[in-house]
Amino acid sequence: MANLIIETENLTKKFGEFTAVDAITFNVSEGEIFGFLGANGAGKTTAMKMLCGLLLPTSGKASVAGYDVYFQSEKIKLNIGYMSQKFSLFADLTVWENIEFYAGIYKMPPALIKSHGAKLLQELELEKQKKRLIGTLPLGIRQKLAFSIAIIHEPRLVFLDEPTGGVDPITRRRFWEMIYEASSRGITVFVTTHYMDEAEYCDRISMMVDGSIQGLDTPANLKTQFQSKTMYDVFLKLARK
């Protein structure tokens, strides 16, 4: 069995009386593409923030990349990348300035920033756009660039919060190719999405309903378990319960 990169046990977060995340227990193996699904308000973002070291859990255990979320969040931060749909790069900075900034805050040495950055631009065929402001680039390119930048420091694990929202199907397809490519290099991918076709691309999926995990398995097994033809039906069956 591969090494576990995320381990949680009865992880819970309460905001006052409201329980946003209710005793979730799951593991993610190194190199896995782990889909984190659920309706809006099901507690996905809260759970993710706890794993990123942004929110302190109310109770339960969790470790990310071998570090405890209660006491070692600084160590966790060095080993993860993060990208969300809501924010993709600073619009008033150029492509290269964004690369320099992110690589810089992840403590990459200048020589490495240069070589990694150049490689990244080459892969995305953006060498000529190096000095363009991000705000002038199409959303699809911005999202792909944001993903590449989120893993420029070669983290062991990357969190993607609805990374493909508002992007056309071709770009989404290309985006997932990039995810596979990162996964093949050994980077674990933790992704939330609302697109059920994307759910099929994941190695394993967790379905969150009202703060707790109602289903957790490979897409194929989940479809059998809930006697559905598609992930879409699985989602509807669970979310409507």
Binding site: L54, L55, K86, F159
Partner: protein
Amino acid sequence: MKHLRIFVWKEFLHIWRDKKTLMIIILLPIIEVLLFGYVLTSEINNVNLGVRDLDNSTWSHQLILKFQSSNYFKIISLYTAPEVEHALQSNQVKAVLEIKPDAEKRLQSGESGIIQLLLDASDPNIARTIETYINSITYSYLQKGATQSSQIDIIPVMYYNPELKSVFKSVPGLMAVVLMLICAMMTSVSLAREKETGSMDVLLISPLKPWHIVIGKIIPYIVISFVNILMITGLSYFVFDVPIRGSIILFFLFSALFVVCALSFGLFISTVVKTQQIAMMISLAGLMLPTTLLSGLIYPIRNMPGWLQRLSGIFPARWFVEILCHIMLKDSPIHYYLKPAGIILLITLILLIMSTKRFKLRYD
């Protein structure tokens, strides 16, 4: 430290790319100093003064000559009562001086009411100023003619601002307003922008520590504030002769204290709001307006009702203006303004403590 440098560089790029805001930050102080220096002045110059001389004697001619030679007034001769009324109504003159017949003789016999002054008081401030000027010229003329015996001679000496230039008082007030605007509004808006666009999450998930973000946000505005301080004092020194009579070091030291205080206001605002627009609204309505009106920049604080005077005490600008007046105009010893400095320090500490508490609450 390297972290901080990278973050500060990013902030400078944000400011540099936003050319419109940059223009406002740079031009605003210049325009304000020029406006306040030239426009908001209570001095008068070449005011049209109507004179109806019913006496028409050597005595009255000499009085009129005194007015003419003062440079404050341009004399316009009027002859009939309707002419006087028309001149006032049509704004041709701001005031009319009427000298009654046989003025000198009646004056010597102790009669009063030999000179009448009609003022256009539709602008009360100007009317009052003109009255003061005319009174002083008339009295000095009457003094000469009167017997020296029982007169009490009061010779006013204007300390600190002998020419009574209002710009002397405006510059400290302007510094307060401009620094408050740049520090509080710009920092709160720029922090709120990170929250609004979602980049704050990215920054907090990164190995950056919260204090990197806060300090990194503040440093560019401290730099800009000092550029502004230099611009305001330089401009007012070279164009309006506003001096800094006290210690330059103390001047910058206390300006720095006020800058830090204004920044803590910005920081605090950013912890309570979620969007740039609300951050701007709060800084404008909640800070700029009271700073402008209650700092003594335009209206003297001692003329305000008691409760408003006490209210003005919670705005650091009022105390900063007091300190600046001491340093720039009076060159007072430091213990004269330790109290206002202490109050600014206290306000700063309270704001910083409240901000850190709120910051922790949100991101713990």
